[in-house]
Each structure stands twice: as C-alpha cells, then as structure tokens.
C-alpha cells in the first residue's frame, strides 16, 4: 500500500447531495398527492398533474432517487473502509453516480408524460429499463471489484447485504421487465394473466425486501456500530439473519395477491413465508437494539444516534405488521385500504428515511472534516420526523380499518352497503391528518437539507488513506467485526475506530 492511496469520497458526497434533492422533491410530490386526494381540483385539469401520473413519480423518485442514491453513497463509503482499499474503477463510480441521476430525472419526466408499463414500482418503459440494467451492472463492477481487491480476508456483514441488494435487484429487474417493445414509449410484458401478476409481485415484494430492507440493513450494520462506537452485539446472529432473510424473503411475494386468481397453495406459501420472515427481521432488530443499548452516553451529543434508535423501533413495527397483514383473514380486511399505505409509510418514513437521515448526519461531517452546521436543527428535525410519521400512520390506520369495514359491509339482500364514492368522501378528515403528517415530515427533511448542504458548502472531502492493518486482522476469519478497523473486543467482534 502506498501513502498516496486515498478513499474516493467525492463520489459519495455527490450521491448524498443528489439523494437529499430527491428526498425533498419526492416528498413534496407526496404531499401534493395527499392534498389532491382532498382537493382533486389541484390537478388544474393538467394530465401531468393528475394523481395517476404523479403517484408513480412520487414512488420512483423516493425509491430510486432518494433511496438508491443513498444506498450507492453508503455502499461506496463503507465498502472502501471495510475492504481497506479505495474504490475499484473510481471513474466508473462517477459514471454510475451521474448516469443514475439522468435515468431518474428523465424517467420521472417520462412518467409525467404518461409513458408507463403499468407495473407498480416498475413503471418505467423499456429504454429506461435497459439504461438501469447497464448502470446497475457498472455499480456491481465497482462494488464487487472493490471487494475482490480487498486487503482484509473477511467480507464484513454490511457488504453481504449490499451485495445481496445488487444481485437480487438485478435479477428481479431483468426478469420482471422482459417485454416486447412496440414503439419507443410502449412495450408489452412477455407474461400474461396470472403469471404476469405473480412475476410482478415477486418483483414488487422483493424490491421492498432486498432494496428497502436488505440494502438499508447494510447501512445499519456499518453505520450503527460506527455511530455507537460498539461492536455488533452478535456478529454470528447478523450472518445467520442475513441467510435466513435472503432465503425466506424471496417466497413472500404472493401475499400481495390473496384472494386473486392465482392458485390457493401459492397464496398460502406466500403467507407462511411472510410469517417466518418475522424471525430474521426481529433478530436484526434485537441485534441493533442490543448494540445501541451500550452506547447510551452518546445520545446527549449525537442526534444521528437518536434517528437510528427510532429507525429500529419502526423497523420492528413494520416487520411485524407486514407478516400480520399477510395472514389471509387479516388481509381480507386490510387489502386495497389505506392501512396498506400506512404500513408502507411506517417502513418508508420510520425505517428507510430515519436510518438514512441518521447515517447522513454521521457521515457528512466526517467526510467534510468539520462539525455539523447545527445540532439544534438536527434535534428539531428528529421531533418533526417522529411527529410526522406518527400522524401519518395513525391517520392511515383509522382510514384503513374504516374502509375495510365499509367495503365488506353488505345489506340484507346481499348487496354492497356503500358505494366507492361514499367511502372516499368519508375519508377526507383522515386525509387531512395524513396531509398534516406529510407536511411535518417534509419540513423536517427540508431542515436537514439546509443543515447538511451548509455543512458541505465550500468544502471538499477530507483525504483519507486506508489505515495499516494488523496481520491477524488481514488474514483471520475469527474476528469479523475487526474488519471495522480496530482491535477486537473480548468474545464478540471489535470496537470500530
């Protein structure tokens, strides 16, 4: 190793900036949509402002703009440090960074223009699908290339999750988007009928699983021990839960199709696998809580850690609620109601956004070699994020349970008691509360954007070289936590530097 070798953090910084921009824009669209459900006239008669076009813009902007940019940033940041080498092919990493943003931007515009495959979370048409595949392969080359050139024998557990994310999302994306193009903006899926639905929800649920859960668990497993300055409570449990998670999640998709025209045994399989999934999910939560429980002294001075603690709590809630809603007798009430929207947002706001915010508050000041611009703003952001999430999910619980009862209600001659429009009209108060929750959450995100951009403003990233590694860490498989760059503690893992 030469002294001139430095980690490539410039690309990480840029990806963080893009992620913040997409977070604000994506959530702004979400708030607009929440308002449209109360005041439909807010589309001003414009097709591109209609709910049908803005909704995929919101989900794609948040998942692929905010989420994936954050995952790429944190994957690049952590894989260098856990492998003790700079990024493999750094120029390709820059191509991944900018190429991804171009796809998200142009893809978003195409959704506004009405180009859509109509597959949820895979709405982008075939030219974008091909572009995504190319960029994703480049991402894989940089990530796995860095791991292949690592100077430490162990592959730290966060890299297993990031690696799982890259491989499985590639597989899902390619298989689900196989289609026959008929023009530049229209293609038809090669699957038909029930097969199309099964493949779509095999994709849809595992996009949630391996991107919004697995990818962000990679983030958790690197940044939580770093922030808490504690080894992972049980490294073995983290590895066991990774394999249990990977094996189980892939089967759970059919729970999105309960009572639909797919074989009942497929529905039952999806339900059972969803229930089993609770075990690895909660194993991870317990591992995280036990890790952070020893770091309580840092809570006074570290706003980032508060976000992580809260993220773990909502992770526990969402990963319990999901399997519960996959039970067919519960799903018959909850399906197609706003309960599902509340569940998704307890995960998206409470888990994904919170863990990302905590990570950004940790990572940005360190990368820039300075203090956070304002700890007070970060603390205000914490309470706004908590209040916004709670308002959101409570309002959706109320709305969802009401809708479930309304839609199943039949009169004495067996006809539906309420029309769809009656039910929607009675939802206005809940939607008002949801709009308020969304606005509060967005306000917090804007505060974070200001805080972090001020922290970064006018500064370059600090030049960090890979530290010298002790021979026993470089060559041993006995102390995986020591990959974090420090002396192992007695018994379990090691304390991160």
């Amino acid at each position: 190793m030469t002294n001139r070798e430095v980690y490539h953090d410039g690309v990480v910084k840029r990806l963080v900036q893009f992620s913040i921009i997409w977070a604000v824009l994506g959530m702004l669209v979400g708030v607009w949509l929440a308002a449209e459900l109360i005041w439909p006239g807010l589309d001003f008669g414009q097709f591109w402002l209609s709910f049908g076009r803005l909704r995929p813009l919101h989900t794609n902007g948040i998942i692929f703009g905010f989420g994936v940019s954050a995952l790429m940033a944190t994957a690049f940041y952590s894989v260098q440090r856990t492998s003790n080498v700079p990024l493999y092919m750094p120029r390709l990493a820059w191509i991944v960074c900018y190429g991804w943003q171009v796809v998200v931007l142009t893809g978003g515009l195409s959704l506004l223009a009405g180009w859509t495959s109509s597959k949820e979370y895979a709405e982008l048409e075939w030219p974008f699908d091909i572009a995504i595949t190319i960029i994703w392969v480049c991402f894989a080359v940089v990530f796995f290339g860095t791991i292949a050139t690592r100077r430490i024998q162990n592959i730290y557990v966060s890299n297993w999750f990031y690696g799982g994310l890259i491989i499985v999302i590639a597989m899902l994306h390619i298989v689900n988007n196989l289609a026959i193009p008929v023009s530049i903006n229209k293609s038809y899926s090669i699957y038909a009928g029930a097969q199309d639905a099964i493949v779509q929800w095999w994709y849809g649920h595992n996009a949630v699983g391996f991107l919004l859960t697995g990818g962000f668990l990679g983030m958790l497993y690197y940044f939580l021990p770093k922030q808490a300055n504690q080894p992972i409570w049980s490294y073995r449990l983290s590895v066991v839960s990774f394999w249990a998670f990977t094996y189980t999640y892939i089967w759970a998709g059919p729970h999105h199709l309960h009572y639909n025209s797919i074989p009942e045994w497929v529905q039952s399989l999806g339900m059972v696998m969803s229930l089993i999934l609770l075990a690895p999910s909660w194993a991870t939560m317990i591992n995280g809580i036990m890790t952070v429980s020893k770091a309580w002294r840092k809570l006074t001075v570290d706003p980032a850690l508060k976000f992580i603690v809260l993220a773990l709590a909502f992770y526990g809630l969402a990963t319990f609620e999901g399997p519960m809603m996959a039970i067919r007798s519960v799903n018959v009430v909850s399906h197609f109601t706003d309960w599902t929207i509340g569940h998704v947002h307890s995960g998206a706001l409470g888990w994904n956004a919170m863990i990302t915010y905590g990570t950004f508050y940790f990572m940005v000041p360190r990368m820039m070699g300075t203090e956070l611009y304002s700890i007070r703003l970060a603390n205000i952001h914490f309470w706004l994020a908590l209040a916004g999430t709670m308002l959101y999910i409570i309002s959706m619980w109320g709305a969802g349970v009401s809708q479930g009862l309304f839609w199943l209600s039949i009169d004495e001659i067996g006809e539906l008691s309420y029309s769809f429009t009656d039910v929607m009209a009675s939802m206005v108060p809940y939607y008002g509360l949801r709009l308020l929750g969304g606005l509060v959450f967005l306000t917090g995100t804007i505060l974070m954007a200001y805080n972090l951009l001020r922290t970064m403003y006018g500064r370059n990233t600090v030049q960090v070289s890979p530290p010298e590694v002790l021979d026993e860490i470089r060559g041993t498989a006995h102390n995986p936590n020591a990959v974090m760059g420090v002396e192992p503690a007695a018994g379990k893992g090691g304390v991160p530097a």
Binding site: I289, M290, V292, S293, W296, R297, K298, L299, T300, K306, V309, L310, L312, A313, F314, G316, L317, F320, E321, M324, M325, I327, S329, V330, V332, V333, S334, W339, M390, L391, I394, S395, W397, G398, V401, S402, G404, L405, F406, L408, S409, I410, G414, L416, S417, Y418, D422, V423, A425, S426, M427, P429, Y430, L433
Partner: protein, 189 residues
C-alpha cells in the same frame, strides 16, 4: 404533578404506590365501559355512514375482550419493562414499575371518554394528543423510577414504545381476524 409522583414511586413511597395501584383497575375498565355505553346509545360510526348497532351479546363480547386486551397490555408491559431493566442497568421492583405504567397510561384511559361517541375520526383526534402526553410521561418518568440516566432512559422508553406499537397493531390485526370469523361487525366474507 407527574414529576413529584414519579419521584415518590422512585423513593418507594408505599402509600403513593398503593394509591396508584388502586387506580389501575379503574383505568383498565374505563375504556371498555365507555365503548359499551357509546355503542349502545350511538352505535359505531364510520364517517358519514349510518351507525352500526350490535346486539347485547355482541356488545358484551367486544367490551369484555377489549378489557382483557388492555389487562394483557398492562401486565405484559410491566413484565417486559422489568425484563428490559436487566439490559439497561435499571433498578425497580414490579410494584414500582406497575405504578409508573399506570401513571403513563392515565391520559390514554381518560381520553377514552371519546368512546362514548364511537365515531372513528373523533376518537383518532382525541387519542393523538393523549398518546403524545402518555409518551411524554413515559420518557420523563422511566429514568426517575428506574434510577437510570435520562439518555439510557430514552433508549429503554423507545424499546417500550416499540413494544406498545406492536401490541396496538396486533390488536388491529386480531380485531380484523375476528371480524372475518363473524365476531363484531357483520362483514360480507
């Protein structure tokens, strides 16, 4: 004042702890009673739709299971907090923890007066500030009663909040399951 009450519990003031324990039963029984009266007089109201009325047996079953669920929630939270105390280096006996949880849930139980008019949105509106107040009491009271620093108390309180959220969502799921099997409101399943 809650601060003084928590201090008295922490100091093991038996008079105060026993006085609080006497309230526990009342606080558990209030919400089902309010729900029973509300569903009898006004019926369940979901938005603008006609109210739903249940027969006497149905109302008794729902209120009974509601009381059982609340009692289970109370006892399990006390036991869970006692178990978590090992992890967080906290010290408190079951009596003190029970008294603390009673104080914490008091706003929620009193706010359940909204059940007298079982319109879902009104109940949601009334319960939200009550939830915030109860959470505030938990975060303030737990470190005092359990004799741990506030930062460590914040972690332990968050763990309990996670448990309570899971317990609440379980209640929703169990309710939905029971409706499907014909207990509660009549649904066309």
């Amino acid at each position: 004042m809650p601060g003084t009450v928590f201090q008295e519990i922490a100091e093991g003031d038996e008079l105060a702890i026993h006085a609080i324990h006497r309230l526990t039963f009342l606080l558990i029984i209030l919400p089902p009673v309010f729900a029973w009266v509300g569903s009898t007089v006004f019926g369940w109201r979901l938005g603008s739709a006609d109210p739903m009325y249940f027969d006497t047996t149905g109302r008794i079953i729902i209120s009974f299971f509601y009381a059982i669920a609340l009692a289970f929630g109370y006892i399990s939270t006390v036991l869970l907090a006692s178990w978590m105390a090992l992890t967080y280096g906290a010290k408190a006996d079951l009596e003190a923890i029970g008294a603390m949880i009673t104080v914490v849930v008091a706003p929620l139980s009193i706010a359940s007066i909204a059940h007298l008019y079982p319109q879902v949105f009104i109940n949601v509106l009334v319960m939200i500030p009550a939830v915030i107040w109860s959470m505030n009491l938990l975060y303030r009271g737990l470190p005092v009663v359990m004799h741990i620093p506030p930062e460590r108390g914040m972690l332990m309180s968050s763990s309990i909040v996670a448990w309570l959220l899971v317990a609440f969502v379980s209640l929703l799921g169990i309710s939905a399951g029971l409706w499907t099997y014909g207990i509660g409101p009549s649904v066309g399943v």
